[in-house]
């Protein structure tokens, strides 16, 4: 039986009727038509491309029941750019060529954003840990690390550190 849940996605309030066996990933893609969040490994938590930020934390949306998103705040890749301006992480991914096919990018950007939101000037190790759960099959890991280190350096300067 469907149940009505309220949640916020990318700042917008939603009320959605969901079946309890649906995951956040399925509701985002199929009900809310936010298809920026990808499914890679078949919903098994092995690839990280379905990563969204829920209440400030990066999670695999394939492993969270929609019922557990009740009254939560979710950020998907569609909500990262503001006023048609890319987020610094997205811009850095372009500048450093950290995107090829782009399938892992939404999840990776959100994993990185969850880190930067808490820690504007992370170390290389902190960056690596934050994005270690996001598999990439074509660009590789060096370019996205470089991109994120550049963001860290930029934000570190702006933060006066």
């Amino acid at each position: 039986m469907k149940q009505l849940i309220s949640l916020r996605v990318n700042g917008e309030p939603y009320e959605v009727a969901v079946e309890p066996h649906k995951t956040v990933l399925e509701v985002l893609r199929n009900e809310l038509e936010l298809t920026g969040t990808k499914e890679g490994c078949g919903g098994l938590g092995q690839c990280g491309t379905c990563t969204v930020i829920m209440d400030g934390k990066a999670v695999n949306s394939c492993l969270v029941l929609a019922m557990d998103a009740r009254d939560k705040e979710i950020l998907t890749i569609e909500g990262v750019a503001k006023d048609r301006k890319l987020h610094p992480i997205q811009q850095a991914f372009l500048d450093y060529g950290a995107i090829q096919c782009g399938f892992c990018a939404p999840g990776t950007v959100l994993s990185a954003k969850a880190l930067f939101d808490k820690n504007p000037n992370p170390t290389e190790d902190e960056i690596k840990i934050a994005i270690a759960g996001n598999l990439c099959r074509c660009t590789g890991y060096a370019k996205r690390k470089k991109a994120l280190l550049a963001v860290a350096e930029q934000q570190g300067k702006e933060g006066g550190r």
Partner: protein, 335 residues
């Protein structure tokens, strides 16, 4: 591909008592969702089925870390692994547990997965934990209703699935216990006795609700190390937890626990290696003896997992025990 969840009847009990009574009623047809990172995968792969799903994520009284000078540390079973790895008190006083929690899977999974679930996770093997389509290419194993074990052709049943928990060996090394609540009763079990030949001792109506860790004596230090093909996402192929207590001058080893995870179906403590170290000054000769003893004991019992043969795992236990003891000595000296 993994697939979708099948429909189930869904419950969100408000209290632990309500949750327990659901399990008392529905027994094995009901499945417990805590973090969900293990259960949802098993359900999607059709390795488990749930006619009833009992979601305890919003059940009160399961998510906390309480530290007490007298009683030690109490952790609610629903506490996420990322909360544990970043907890100031865990990092400071029980660092081996923070180390173990921080090595599980990926940050996204640690943000969801619970400590209770990490202990109660389903034991795995390279054949069983695959998709339905993958299984169809083979004659089914005992666990899937057939008459063969692909891990050990000599076996007459499913006895070689392995608990690949990172936190369980660390908790055993810390002397931790778990609180278990069933219909009208409650028991506290040392983590080292929580497991049986394959799997754990939980009865159908029981829920693991709390982890209790005694305060550690002065001059104690611990290390959790693991080998896995990739640092992230993979389960451990070999995990090792070592807790060491030195004398006040940091010259003699007063006490030590050496517990391996993922090598055998359940965590494996090697008393003979501990005996070699207890009361001794630790030098390279002693460590060499420990490595040999560990390898000899592990060689008799190690179980292969896919590409990782029992011999390879035996080699890794020797490497890791040496590193873990050295880590303990290093962090003891830095105190």
């Amino acid at each position: 591909m993994g697939g979708r969840l099948k429909k189930f009847e869904y419950f969100e009990p408000g209290t632990i008592e309500e949750a327990v009574s659901l399990f008392a009623q529905y027994r094995k047809e009901a499945k417990l969702l805590a973090g969900g990172t293990d259960l949802l995968v098993l359900l999607k792969q059709r390795l488990l089925s749930a006619r009833y799903l009992v979601n305890i994520k919003r059940t009160s009284g399961l998510d906390y870390i309480n530290s007490d000078d007298g009683e030690g540390l109490k952790i609610g079973a629903l506490t996420t692994l990322s909360t544990i790895e970043t907890s100031a008190v865990v990092r400071e006083k029980f660092s081996i547990l923070a180390q173990a929690a921080s090595k599980v899977a990926s940050l996204q999974i640690r943000n969801i997965g619970s400590i209770g679930g990490n202990i109660c996770q389903d034991p795995r093997c390279w054949y069983y934990n695959q998709s339905h389509d993958w299984h169809r290419a083979w004659t089914p194993c005992y666990k899937l209703g057939g008459h063969v074990c692909y891990v050990d052709k000599g076996d007459k049943g499913c006895q070689k699935r392995i608990l690949q928990s990172d936190t369980a060996p660390a908790l055993i090394a810390l002397g931790a216990r778990v609180k278990v609540i069933g219909e009208g009763r409650e028991r506290v079990i040392p983590v080292k006795d929580f497991f049986k030949k394959v799997g754990n001792v939980l009865k159908a109506d029981e829920i693991l609700t709390e982890i209790q860790i005694p305060n550690q004596p002065p001059h104690a230090s611990g290390a959790y190390l693991r080998f896995s093909p990739r640092k992230a996402i993979d389960y451990p192929v070999v995990g090792i937890a070592v807790m060491m207590r030195m004398d006040p001058e940091y010259s003699l080893c007063r006490d030590i626990k050496i517990v391996f995870g993922a090598v055998t179906p359940v965590p494996f403590e090697i008393d003979e290696a501990e005996d070699l170290l207890r009361g001794k000054k630790i030098d390279s000769d002693i460590i060499d003896g420990v490595v040999q003893t560990v390898r000899d004991k592990v060689a008799l019992q190690a179980i292969s997992f896919g590409d990782h043969s029992a011999d390879f795992k035996t080699d890794m236990t020797g490497v890791l025990v040496k590193r873990a003891i050295e880590e303990c000595l290093k962090s003891a000296k830095s105190h």
